[in-house]
């Protein structure tokens, strides 16, 4: 099937937007596509749905060994994904869109939604990331959750998440995508609140859920608008029809999709939940809130390229949101003393980079995905490293209580260092290649955005260096009875694998492989020439990062770090510690007006509606109290009224007949 013949020509840009038209008859290993989802789903069903109903003795066994099943399904899914990827590599470049129609999910009116799967170059990369990193984190969690009495349930949730995430990625229909989208939301909620005995965890789970619902409203409205406009929600059909829709509809569609992406990917203004989500167990933070789920927004924008390419307003909004978020997250990362929250701020910032790239159009899509993959490696690596540090420090997350851990935990230190070098963009490491490309494209598109992105890179260098220095170098500031030790093999081995990937992730760009690979999905775009030669830009970025690192060295590394956070700090630091007042803004803009509105409506309901209803009933009651006196029990009284009625009837008859 020649895909290019199906593409829609965008005259103004000279760019072609490919149409989604999967080959459903590929056969062979592609018929097993559904199994990628079904395996972790089976794990989740067995661990969550079946296990609680087993007899007590059998359940004890399952509780003891259930994590192995959970890990096995994830690994099996990864192996299958790898086979699928290799098979896809074996096909012609132009027939690498494979579909599988499972069944018709539902039909109502003119809307027919099929449970169809779409496996193309984009999905293939995501599948590898999710199942690969997911498997590693499953393995890591075996060690991390070893002493948790509810480990079986934890792995059930992890499997549920993986199944939902794969549904999100593989679905060939926006409704199917929404199913996975809600599934990962549910899994995220369950896992953030996994330690529900902590009120903070329960509150964080609720907060994440509620803010995500705001985004979901955007996505569901987008799907509804899609159905209203195109009469279908299938990727293929929508991508063919977008060319015929008018600009306003497409912009609205794009903005609604962006709202959905903002919720899931913690972009400003729906960013407030991500830092609190760190209440969940660290493997969860690594898998869901760093490597995979939070990047779903990026996936959504890239997957909906056929909408965004024709909706310039929405695309600009994506760039604006992304730029604000990447700086916002970076600033948060500078001020947090909680190692996981610092990393979470960093995650927010890095997703901002991805969104920025995704907002740049076909030029940026491959780099968004590229950065997404490398970020998935190095951020998962760092989160797991942070988990390893916490494991050794008795679950203390305050970096002010760390220091000099490089000796106590050498493996963790070294692997973490790989992730650190990758994220700041040390030349040669994976993050260097991906971030460099994004900033370069941004500069070519818009000078201001590009410069802000470059500034963000410098801040990244600052806060990551600060984190490294506070954790692994300097004086020991440990609590008295803490004895840091290296984590067991089951935790360090995944760290090593991820460290290796963090270092080597850049090979995906070798010979522009990823650009070429994704071109059938994202469309081909002529690169605009950046204002400066590429090598100069690269040097500039490296310089900015070096300045950030040096600043961190002078401000943090050379000073003594107090065990308690100093209070007499600048306004900027205070603001950053308070999440740049994100919660306060939410509270002022949404929560308090909402509460006032509800309070007013309640009063109106009580006084107005209830008053009318109760007044009416009281009036009827009073009237009845008076009228019931007529029912005095004397049959002669009743006869009198009967007789009077007869008199009236006769009078009426006479009036009619004689009158």
């Amino acid at each position: 099937m020649n895909l290019l013949s199906h593409s829609v020509l965008l005259a103004a840009e000279g760019t072609e937007i490919p149409v989604v038209a999967p080959d459903t008859g590929a056969g062979g290993v592609f018929d097993l596509l559904w199994l990628v989802i079904a395996l972790p789903l089976l794990g989740a069903v067995l661990l969550l749905g079946v296990a609680p109903f087993l007899p007590a003795s059998l359940r004890a066994t399952v509780d003891k060994h259930g994590h192995l099943l959970g890990t096995a399904t994830a690994v099996a899914s990864f192996v299958l994904s790898l086979v699928l990827f290799l098979s896809l590599l074996g096909r012609d470049a132009e027939s690498r869109q494979v579909g599988q129609e499972l069944w018709t999910w539902f039909e109502t009116g003119s809307l027919s939604v099929g449970m169809d799967l779409l496996y193309d170059q984009l999905a293939a990369l995501f599948l590898l990331l999710i199942t690969g990193v997911g498997s590693l984190i499953h393995v890591y969690a075996i060690g991390y959750m070893e002493h948790d009495p509810r480990r079986r349930r934890f792995f059930g949730y992890l499997n549920l998440f993986v199944a939902a995430m794969l549904t999100l990625i593989l679905s060939a229909d926006f409704v199917g995508l929404f199913l996975g989208w809600e599934g990962v939301g549910l899994a995220s909620y369950l896992l953030i609140g996994f330690w529900q005995h902590k009120p903070s965890a329960a509150a964080a789970a609720k907060k994440a859920f509620v803010i995500n619902r705001v985004g979901d409203i955007g996505l569901s409205l987008a799907i509804a608008l899609m159905f209203a406009t195109f009469g279908t929600t299938d990727f293929g059909a929508v991508s063919e029809l977008t060319g015929e829709a008018d600009q306003g509809t497409l912009n609205a569609l794009g903005l609604l999709l962006l709202l959905g992406a903002c919720g899931k990917s913690a972009q400003v203004p729906l960013q407030a939940w991500l830092l609190d989500a760190m209440e969940g167990p660290t493997p969860v933070s690594a898998l869901i809130h760093a490597a995979t789920m939070v990047t779903a927004g990026v996936y959504l924008v890239v997957r909906s390229n056929f909408v965004f390419e024709l909706a310039p307003v929405a695309q600009t909004a994506v760039v604006v949101v992304a730029t604000v978020t990447l700086l916002w997250g970076a600033v948060l990362g500078c001020a947090k003393d909680d190692i996981k929250k610092a990393l979470a701020g960093s995650t927010m910032s890095q997703i901002g980079y991805m969104m920025l790239a995704a907002g740049l159009g076909p030029v940026g899509y491959p780099f968004a995905i590229f950065h997404l993959l490398t970020h998935g490696f190095f951020k998962a690596n760092m989160f797991l490293g942070a988990g390893s540090v916490m494991h050794g420090m008795d679950d203390d997350v305050n970096m002010r209580h760390y220091g000099a851990l490089n000796k106590a935990m050498p493996v963790t230190f070294l692997t973490f260092a790989m992730g650190y070098l990758a994220i700041i963009g040390f030349p040669g490491f994976s993050g260097f290649w991906s971030k460099d490309k994004i900033i370069e494209s941004a500069l070519a598109d818009n000078l201001l955005v590009g410069l802000l992105a470059m500034l963000g890179a410098g801040v990244t260098g600052f806060y990551m260096t600060r984190l490294m220095l506070m954790t692994f170098f300097g004086e020991k500031r440990w609590a008295k009875d803490v004895h840091p030790h290296e984590s067991p093999k089951v935790m360090t081995v995944p760290l090593m694998v991820l460290a290796a990937l963090s270092v080597l992730g850049g090979v995906l760009l070798a010979g522009d492989w990823i650009v070429t690979w994704l071109e059938p999905v994202t469309g081909h775009a002529e690169h605009h020439e950046p204002p400066l030669p590429a090598i100069v830009i690269t040097l500039l970025i490296t310089l900015v990062v070096a300045i950030g690192v040096a600043a961190a060295w002078f401000l943090v590394g050379r000073r003594d770090i107090p065990r308690e956070a100093p209070q007499d700090v600048s306004f900027a630091t205070r603001a950053a510690r308070a999440d740049l007042y994100g919660d306060a803004i939410n509270d002022a803009v949404v929560v308090r007006p909402g509460a006032s509105l509800v309070g007013g409506l309640t009063t109106l309901d009580r006084v107005g509606v209830d008053g009318a209803v109760e007044g009416g009933s009281a009036a009827v009651g009073g009237l009845s109290t008076t009228l019931r006196r007529v029912q005095n029990g004397f049959v002669r009284s009743y006869a009198l009224s009967l007789f009077a009625g007869a008199l009236l009837l006769v009078l009426v008859l006479l009036a009619v007949n004689l009158g």
């Binding site: 019931r628 006196r629 029912q631 005095n632 029990g633 004397f634 049959v635 002669r636 006869a639 009198l640 007789f643």
Partner: protein
């Protein structure tokens, strides 16, 4: 014929007033019978007026129904009297507001 119908109306009205004013259940019943008889008179008069016997047949049926009614009514009065020791219709006034 007018005079018969007028007599019938007068008797009917007297019966009505009797039902409304008398309190002894048996007398009330008698007044009901008086009303039935008054209507019978009208039926018979109309039968003669129109020259067919349907009016008389109707009067006959009224008598039958009246007989049945009296039987049941008096039985009810008996029962009430047996339990309440009173034949006044005003005494049976418990079913009220």
């Amino acid at each position: 014929m007018t005079q018969y119908v007028v007599l019938s109306a007068i008797l009917f009205t007297i019966g009505c007033v009797g039902v409304l004013t008398r309190r002894n259940a048996i007398v009330v019943f008698m007044c009901v019978e008086l009303m039935l008889n008054a209507s019978n008179l009208a039926f018979v008069a109309f039968a003669k007026q129109h020259g067919n016997l349907d009016g008389q047949i109707t009067a006959f049926f009224v008598m039958v129904v009246a007989a049945a009614e009296v039987v049941i009514g008096l039985a009810i009065i008996m029962t009430i009297f047996r339990t309440r020791r009173s034949a006044s219709v005003d005494d049976a006034s418990l079913l009220k507001y």
